[in-house]
């Protein structure tokens, strides 16, 4: 029998109908695209919302590739450089905090090698006291029990401060070998408050400040255990009556000011990247600042510190009558610290670059004063419950998801109606521009919604921009996913695979249309 001959029909058995599992596998491997497209147009509201919510949770909670953290911190830096620092951060704190800095030039001009003896520190502190500061914090560690005949001078200085009613604080050593005391026992025995100078650093940049710290000596522990960190303790003691400190449950999110104290500009200059000497007062026009902040961030940074700086050289020379020195000391909290190559204590600030760490303490103090004891934090407290920033962001994004999903469903419905209409075809050019317009409006709508939610969080609970900005980025991602119809396609595929039904008939109403 040749192959060309027709086969009798009754000799071929009908193909066996595959079982349900094989049919599912078959649909997984070779889905019916037409069926999927129809099903995707009928995605239910709950699925889109759940899909977006799941994506948001993964993005925010699991921090894939460090994207979430990087976004937060990068935005915090840009906000400090571009918006908050130059335009919104007030100068109340700047006018009440100063830094007396020992630097290499001080050592050079006074021909005194480091470390100084206690007598020299006592001279500086005595000179500061003459101009009546509000409080003084010594940001040097006096841990080593080296012999020093001038030790009684610093003890006398502590007594003089006490007599004058000016609070004086010392800082203690941290991460010391077992058995090492954080400060010399002679100083500790005076009862002077000794504070923990720890500074949190994230990826090498100082953007936060601890609220709680290790208890050392001379400081009363907090009811919940532990003691307050250096700047927070000083603020509590010095300004607590005027600006009661709100309960702080997380870390402070530092806002870095960019407008350097005008007195700094009198005696300090900076060299820009071209080697030209520039003033410490930043006069970059707003539009140029915006451009530079995005494309050449380092050029917008100002090496001059925000906090007013008192040259210790002037204090040692007894220039306590200099009007600028008087202005920088009187009624201010003075942080006395150093910037020395031989004793590395520097931090990277988003708006300055590498600066002495004493300015981080000063900036935390500045924030506390400027925000009247309600600094920006990385947590929010709702009805007595402390939420870290991740749950807060997830909660914040829910209304954004609900609104975007509702708008998306409206768009799908309208599209189905338009498809059912015949004779209403529009030109390709019109369709192109309409699509592009909708796309832009859609993204900005998501951006605006999330921004509104974030600003509400800041105003209502003091949550820092760094801790809600992820909501904005995720919202725009969600908008993009809705625009390309990702949740719809996933629904179409899953529904097709699971149910495998024929495309449903369009509703009667749409048929009529």
């Amino acid at each position: 029998m040749s192959d060309d001959e027709p086969q009798p029909e009754q000799s071929v058995p009908p193909p066996a109908k595959p079982g349900p599992v094989r049919r599912v596998i078959s649909r997984v491997r070779r889905p019916d695209r037409v069926h999927m497209a129809v099903l995707s147009q009928r995605v239910p509201y709950w699925f889109v919302a759940a899909f977006l919510f799941a994506f948001s949770v993964v993005q925010i909670e699991l921090n894939p590739f460090g994207f979430s953290d990087l976004t937060q911190r990068y935005t915090q830096d840009i906000a400090d450089l571009l918006i908050t620092g130059p335009y919104f951060y007030g100068t109340e704190g700047r006018d009440k905090v100063s830094v007396a800095l020992v630097d290499e030039d001080t050592l050079h001009s006074t021909q005194q090698p480091w470390p100084w003896d206690f007598g020299t520190h006592a001279r500086v502190l005595d000179a500061i006291l003459l101009d009546r500061p509000r409080a003084v914090v010594v940001d040097f560690l006096f841990v080593d029990p080296r012999p020093d005949p001038t030790l009684p001078q610093i003890l006398q200085t502590i007594a003089d401060y006490r007599k004058a009613g000016v609070p004086l604080y010392f800082e203690g050593g941290i991460l010391l070998p077992y058995g090492e005391v954080p400060i010399r026992s002679e100083i500790a025995r005076t009862g002077v408050p000794v504070l923990d100078p720890s500074i949190p650093v994230y990826n090498g940049v100082s953007r936060q400040y601890y609220v709680k710290a290790k208890c050392m000596s001379g400081v009363r522990p907090q009811p919940g255990g532990g003691c307050l960190s250096a700047a927070v303790q000083v603020f509590h003691d010095v300004y607590g009556g005027k600006y009661p400190l709100e309960p702080l449950n997380g870390d402070l999110e530092l806002t870095w000011g960019t407008k350097s104290d005008p007195i700094n500009a009198k005696w300090m200059t900076r060299t820009d990247e071209n080697g030209a000497r520039a003033s410490c007062l930043d006069t970059t026009p707003p539009l140029k600042r915006i451009y530079l902040a995005f494309f050449d961030t380092s050029s917008v940074q100002n090496l001059c510190p925000y906090t007013g700086e008192i040259p210790v050289q002037s204090l040692l020379s007894g220039d306590v009558d200099d009007p600028d020195v008087v202005k920088l000391v009187r009624d201010r909290v003075v942080f006395y610290g150093g910037s020395l190559e031989g004793a590395q204590d520097k931090s990277y600030s988003p708006v300055n670059g590498l600066i002495p760490s004493v300015f981080v303490h000063a900036m935390a103090m500045d924030n506390l004063i400027t925000y009247h004891g309600r600094p920006q934090q990385n947590v929010m407290t709702v009805a007595g419950t402390v939420l870290s920033n991740n749950p807060a962001q997830i909660a914040a994004i829910i209304p954004v998801i609900l609104v975007l999903t509702w708008l998306h469903m409206q768009r799908l419905r309208r599209r189905r109606r338009m498809a059912a209409r015949e004779g209403h075809a529009r030109s390709a050019t019109f369709e192109y521009f309409l699509d592009k317009t909708i796309e832009k409006v859609w993204h900005w709508l998501a951006f605006g919604l999330a921004l509104g939610v974030g600003l509400l969080l800041t105003l209502a609970s003091g949550l820092s921009v760094a801790n809600w900005v992820e909501v904005v980025f995720v919202s725009v991602e969600l908008a993009a996913m809705l625009l390309v119809g990702l949740p719809d396609s996933v629904w179409g595929y899953l529904h097709h695979v699971a149910a495998g039904q024929e495309p449903p008939e369009p509703p009667a109403g749409e048929q009529a249309a």
């Binding site: 021909q111 060299t271 003033s279 040692l316």
Partner: protein
Amino acid sequence: MKPILWATILPGLFALTLAATSAQAGLFGSSSSPSSDACSGSAGDTIIAARTDQVDLYADPQATRKVQTLDKSKFPTCTPITGRWPNAMLQVSVGGTKYWVEPHMVKYRLAKGAQPVCRNLAMGTNEVKAGATRGLGEGCPKTGGSH
């Protein structure tokens, strides 16, 4: 003008003139720097008077050995500075004996003025730029832009 008006205005003008003169002389305000005519008879570097209630006298410029403490009233005025140390300590003769005193405890005047304190910040490093006069920023190199 009526006498009653003169009676009102004249005391006011007088008070204003007095206040302006006093302010110029440094009677008001925060500055208590020695006026230029204090100890005008003393040429050269001079300690004008004690600033603090007590002045410590040291035997060495490193201020490691305190010899005695003098009350403000007993500290000599318009005394020449007989020596200066790089750490800014001042040498003075009290009762025929030379001692070192801490500059912040006394008001003093330098005939040639002191070096200004200036800094130029460049990528985290400082460069010393010396000038000619005393005080924050006086004599420091000027830059473009506002100050």
